[in-house]
């Protein structure tokens, strides 16, 4: 139905297809050594851990299945042909925006699970959330529902389109449009599907939106540690304070990124003592790298902005 590898019209086309294929495999071969070097040297639980890769794959396949649901009906998800899901997920894999978000989601979930094991931090009901809900906070009730839904989905390696940020949704829809262009019957359908998906996306406040409203609320303490407010709210608050993209901050919370994380926290105006405590919470053994003592917010921001030049 959606077939990227349609038969080339002539020999020239075939040759072009072969060249493209060769270029792709050449690029893959060229990056083998750097990737291998990274993997061998990496600490366990790193951002290329098997679990994370499996999750990224699962998430991309889930998004593909949702698109197919919308295009050809969701009565029986198992009925989607292997090949169709594969073509779509490969197209998503080739897109930087979609892939980066899927990776960030997988990393955020990995962090959530890690802290749940190490700190006993409930993935849904953090101490802050529990206290606010007990106090009858309506906004927090909304957050709780959204977070519970998200956790449920993550356990199944699913990422509902309603949960993705708008730029990611745009990227997904653009890919789908480009893929079905060749198929007139589907082209007509895709416009309707797009409208429907966007409508549903706008209708509900997804987890990220509710989290933004929660951290903007007066009841939320901006520098609250992750053990108090939970991973979701911590990241959203951190993004709001630092002005950095949330997905990038998830990556900075990975093992081996302590220096970057410390600089980001300092640059966001977190007192040095708090930075040390927060890094210890996230990474267990190690705290703030000692070399960073005495660096203030301005200096941290400057180093982050021009890592090559600053001394």
């Amino acid at each position: 139905m959606i077939d990227q590898a349609a038969l080339p019209a002539d020999l020239q086309g075939a040759e072009a297809a072969i060249r493209r294929d060769l270029a792709r495999s050449g690029a893959a071969a060229a990056s083998t050594l750097p990737v291998l070097r990274y993997l061998v040297a990496a600490e366990p639980d790193n951002s290329f851990a098997e679990e994370v890769l499996a999750r990224v794959k699962g998430i991309l396949r889930d998004v593909a299945a949702q698109v197919l649901d919308a295009l050809i009906g969701s009565i029986d998800r198992r009925a989607h042909a292997h090949e169709e899901v594969a073509v779509l997920s490969r197209a998503f894999l080739d897109d930087t925006i979609v892939l980066a978000h899927a990776h960030a989601v997988a990393l955020e979930w990995q962090l959530t699970e890690r802290l749940s094991t190490h700190l006993g931090l409930d993935p849904v009901v953090s101490p802050f959330v529990r206290a606010r809900v007990a106090a009858g906070d309506a906004l927090m009730r909304e957050f709780l529902t959204a977070q519970a839904r998200w956790v449920d989905r993550q356990r199944r390696m699913a990422l509902p389109l309603v949960e993705v940020p708008a730029p990611v949704l745009d990227a997904v829809l653009a890919i789908v449009r480009a893929l079905v262009e060749a198929e007139p019957a589907l082209s007509n359908r895709v416009a309707a599907v797009e409208a429907e998906v966007r409508l549903r996306h706008d209708e509900i406040s997804n987890r990220l939106m509710v989290a933004e409203r929660v951290v903007a609320d007066d009841a939320f303490e901006a520098t609250a540690p992750v053990s108090a407010c939970g991973v979701t709210l911590f990241l959203t608050a951190f993004a709001a304070r630092s002005g950095q993209p949330r997905d990038g901050l998830v990556a900075a919370m990975q093992p081996g990124q302590q220096t970057r994380l410390a600089l980001l926290l300092l640059a966001a105006g977190t007192p040095a003592a708090l930075v040390d405590a927060q890094i210890r919470e996230i990474h267990g053994r190690t705290g703030m790298p000692a070399v960073l003592a005495g660096i203030d917010a301005m200096r941290a921001a400057a180093i982050l902005a021009q890592p090559g030049r600053a001394k």
Partner: protein, 457 residues
């Protein structure tokens, strides 16, 4: 013209939807133990994958398949050859090894992961088991989830009534975990799984409640099933065994949890008692399997087919299947040389079942480091397979009793049910053959399976 096909353990046929239409033993038994039917969708995941790929690509594919049937880890070699709409499946080199039982914590983690995967409703509870949030994807459960969302702060048992529990709710969560529940709006059987959020040293700060059912929702698209012939039914094997297996498996699992101190520290003596409970439960499960077999062979309608087989082949396969178990005890099995031939007219899977039982007994009751000798010969119009061990041997009086139902010869605690030899002799006689013993105390035992000779073989 004959082509050397090597040793084939079993053959099977699948159709265009990867359903197993027919299968020889031991593949057929594995399919059933993995929860499948014949005919029915292939229930061994790796095999399903292989057959599906071979069928779609229209190419013959070969691969080693590993599977588990609940007791054993099984490895076998499969060739899937596209034929018609489906595949012809050939199985070679069947190896079983006792399943390495997972450490309690790992097993528990896996159980939780599976429960979360199949849960149709998830709710979050506070430390007093009061509702905080609820979430479902299932349209059937949407009203329940809505009601739960309205009833935040109330105890979850107000919405999901634990069956057979009249005690003032909520009970301690461990007593409610895994129990059946009922609620208005669904007639499916449901149970709950409670996962505590624990900080070591503290009472649980909250719980995750999973609502699970072993029955698929009605709006789930049914997989088209080929009409299956209704097999004759027996009470224990067909009706009682499936019902009993689940609670017994639960007893075993809980006893294992206690034994491995998963639920908290415990004096050694109690952990040992729990180990004994688990061991007894496992015996009970094996016994149920044997009872099911017993019912089949005792049924009036039981009959066997006459295949052209060579006892020598079957003996080598049986020895191969039990090779791992024998090596674990340091017992060597001598099998008939390929040149030895004993062509016979008997049902392949039944002969294999008898030989597996005989060789399995020999391994079980022989001292470590001894050998078990399997030979075949032809005696008049009979083909014979002889399994000889170097075990303690049996007195004449014991030989008279050993084929009786539930006869254990005073043994206990070794995993036997006392049904194996009884079933084996019934099988031998059903094939117009006989199963007999020659032994003397201290001299080991020789079990002799006789079946009709294939005069043209």
């Amino acid at each position: 013209m004959t082509v050397d096909e090597g040793t084939i353990v079993a053959r099977a046929i699948s159709d265009g939807q990867d359903r197993l239409l027919s299968a020889d033993e031991p593949l057929a038994a594995l399919q059933l133990r993995c929860g499948g039917d014949i005919p029915g969708m292939i229930a061994v995941p790796e095999l399903l994958d292989l057959v599906g790929r071979a069928r779609r690509a229209c190419v013959r594919m070969t691969q080693a398949i590993s599977a588990q049937d609940g007791n054993d880890a099984i490895t076998f070699w499969v060739e899937a050859d596209p034929e018609g709409e489906g595949c012809a499946i050939v199985v070679r080199s069947w190896q079983t090894a006792a399943l390495i039982s997972e450490d309690g914590a790992v097993a528990e983690e896996r159980r939780v992961a599976i429960d979360r995967q199949i849960a149709e409703l998830t709710a979050w509870l506070d430390s007093g088991q009061r509702l905080i949030a609820a979430n479902t994807d299932c349209s059937e459960l949407a009203p329940l989830a809505d009601a739960m969302a309205q009833g935040v702060g109330r105890c979850w048992t107000d919405f999901l009534q634990p069956e057979n529990v009249t005690h003032q709710q909520p009970l301690h969560w461990r007593l409610l975990d895994g129990g059946p529940v009922v609620f208005a709006g669904s007639s499916r059987p449901w149970r709950v799984s409670l996962i505590p959020q624990i900080r070591p040293g503290f009472e649980p700060s909250g719980f995750e409640l999973l609502l699970l059912s072993d029955q698929a929702p009605s709006d789930c698209v049914a997989i088209p099933q080929a009409a299956a012939p209704v097999p004759p039914r027996g009470l224990v094997g067909q009706d009682l065994a499936p019902v009993l297996k689940q609670p017994i498996a639960r007893i075993v699992a809980n006893a294992e949890t206690i034994r491995t101190r998963l639920a908290g520290p415990l004096p050694d003596a109690y952990a040992e008692y729990a180990g004994e409970i688990a061991g007894a439960g496992k015996l009970l499960l094996d016994l149920l399997d044997d009872m099911a077999d017993l019912e089949v062979v005792e049924a009036d309608s039981f009959s066997t087919t006459a295949d052209y087989i060579d006892l020598s082949d079957v003996a080598r396969q049986a020895a191969g299947i039990l090779g791992v178990r024998a090596r674990e005890k340091g017992i060597s099995i001598t099998t008939p040389a390929p040149a030895d031939s004993a062509p016979a007219l008997a049902e392949f899977r039944r002969v294999l079942q008898v030989l597996l039982n005989l060789i399995g007994n020999a391994i079980r009751y022989s001292p470590e480091g001894t050998s078990v000798d399997v030979r075949v010969d032809v005696n008049g119009d009979r083909a014979r397979a002889i399994v000889a061990d170097e075990g303690p041997g049996l007195s004449l009086e014991e030989q008279g009793r050993v084929f009786e139902k539930f006869e254990r010869l005073g043994r206990s605690g070794d995993g036997g049910s006392g049904l194996g030899l009884y079933i084996s002799r019934r099988l031998a006689r059903a094939m117009n053959g006989e199963l007999s013993i020659e032994s003397a105390p201290g001299q080991g035992a020789r079990f002799i399976l006789e079946v009709p000779l294939d005069p043209e073989g």
